[in-house]
């Protein structure tokens, strides 16, 4: 993998910042447009698994994931978030997203970029409940003219016990 040119690095940073902004503003349809039609959107659970003597201690990515979605199911989730009948979104929580540590490299396939980023997502419900989610994303971005599409995203939280249910995209 090769690092990318400065211009491209900035382009990619701005793409992820733009994406975060759409999500902060609950503009889900515009967000879905950033996803490739064949996106694989994946978030495993984190757990600590002891291996029999000799094996390395592992932090496993178990088999029952938090997200293992394609674009259709993401669209369904987005539809629920936008319904006025959804208790968890009524009133809408306040969300802010800090996207940091963005590192881009050219992927093996031409026109693709492997992009890693870290995040802290803050969510406040009715002034009474604050949940924060912290983790990393490994994205595969596909060049699409002036912009990109997210062809693959794997999210890894640095949390084994989640502070609450998750009605958020990362």
């Amino acid at each position: 993998m090769r690092r990318v040119a400065t211009e491209v690095q900035i382009e990619i940073e701005q793409f992820l910042i733009h994406e975060a902004s759409l999500l902060e503003e609950n503009r889900f349809d515009a967000w879905l447009d950033l996803l490739a039609d064949d996106i694989h959107y994946f978030m495993p659970i984190r757990e600590s698994v002891e291996q029999p003597a000799g094996g390395a201690p592992a932090s496993s990515s178990g088999g029952f994931p938090l997200y293992d979605d394609d674009k259709k199911s993401l669209a369904l989730r987005a539809a629920r978030l936008q319904s006025r009948l959804t208790p968890s979104e009524t009133p809408p929580p306040l969300v802010q997203r800090l996207i940091t540590n963005i590192a881009a490299a050219e992927a093996e396939q031409g026109g693709y970029y492997a992009v890693r980023s870290n995040f802290l997502v803050h969510q406040e419900r009715r002034g009474r409940h604050i949940n924060q989610f912290i983790g990393r994303r490994d994205d595969l971005l596909r060049r699409a003219g002036e912009t990109f599409q997210i062809a693959r995203r794997e999210i890894q939280l640095a949390q084994t016990l989640l502070p609450g249910t998750i009605s958020l995209f990362f």
Binding site: L76, R80, S83
Partner: protein, 454 residues
Amino acid sequence: MPDLRSLIDQKHWLIGDQVFAQDIYQRELETVFGRCWLFVGHDSMVPKPHDYFTHFMGETGVIVQRDGAGRIRGYLNKCRHRGNIVCPYDRGNAKNFSCAYHGWVYSDGKLIGVPHSDEAYAGGINFDEWGLVEIPKLQSWGGLIFGCWDPDAISLDDYLGDARWYLEHFLLREKLGGLEVIPGVQRYMVPTNWKIVSENLAGDHYHFMVTHGGFVEALRKSEDKRIALTGVSTGGRFHAFSVALNHDHGVPHGIFQLRSGSGQLETDLTAAEELGPEAVAWVHERQRVLEEELKDFKHKPYSFQGGNIFPNLGLTGVGSALYGKAFMLHHPRGADRTEVWTWCAVEKNAPAAVKERARFVLMQRFAATGMVVSDDSAIFERIAENLNTPPSRQWPMHYAMAMAQEGEDPRPAALAGEPQRWPGLLTQTFQETAQRDFYRYWSELMNTNPAPAN
């Protein structure tokens, strides 16, 4: 502690907020969680000798492990020396647990090593007496492992009682090869009392179309039918009931959406077709086995959707062949916090495509990211905010739904006179019998003494 009799008005079925208060909670840990059989896992989570997982019974940390002889056993995850957690991992395989504080070593529960024991103890310690505390009763029933701290507790068979028939035929399906749990457990907090969640699962079908209205709306509009197809049966061609298990004579487990009629089977077949002939064959095979099991029945249930095994094991996803089965354990964490642990099980011999779909559907609905639990938890946290805020607790909550209908046969007129061939008190779907039974039994337990020491 307030008088429980005054808190629970069993005539009008009004219950005071104080049943959710902190002083009650402390006692619950001893009576409810110290005396009941508690779900701790499934056989398939420990397939090989010395496979183990760590877990909680109430707030008490335990280890469940298949021992060297292949027997599943449970232990306090607490060193007998000074109380350190002997196993800090979530799961794994280990012949021995070696305490990281002073190095006492346990194997299959027995204390087998004490560093420098000659010098340190000079024979003053009897290794046989200082093994890990073993959960006095631990039993696997149809693959479901339950443990109990009370040596005088009734048997697990009696504890489950009516529930066995339902679990056997609709959840465990051992004749088809039984269940396997997908590795890994999802864990998350909900800021509410554990009973708020458990009573919901015991029988609150009434909330579904309201709480989950946004989800239902999204399903209706969505092109993605994978998720809808397992949940909402095609209208009209099925009957649904709630069931109060061990009503009036035992431990109050509750079941919702016991469904009969052809509706759900048809939905399952439609969904299976999309997955190919193997999947369709599987649905037929399931039906064949079920028909055989219930061959003498005129009125045959197809499945039930979910329920609660007292006190805190929620079940869901049971209703459809294409739906992963969730074990949702609602660990108490103080009067207003519940730690949910969710496993997904699938039918072991189902075709890969069916397993994959089942896992997918359960994830969409009941994972920590699930569209159903997100709304439930939003509600539960609001209820908790309203509890025990004097003077609001002067006005008790209302648990009196369908009291008049309790005991009436809710089945369609066509079945009049037909005996109910299976256990449990059948009620209409909209009911609170299961919830009333829950609190009636709970208050009896709370009036007992904590479990005695072994």
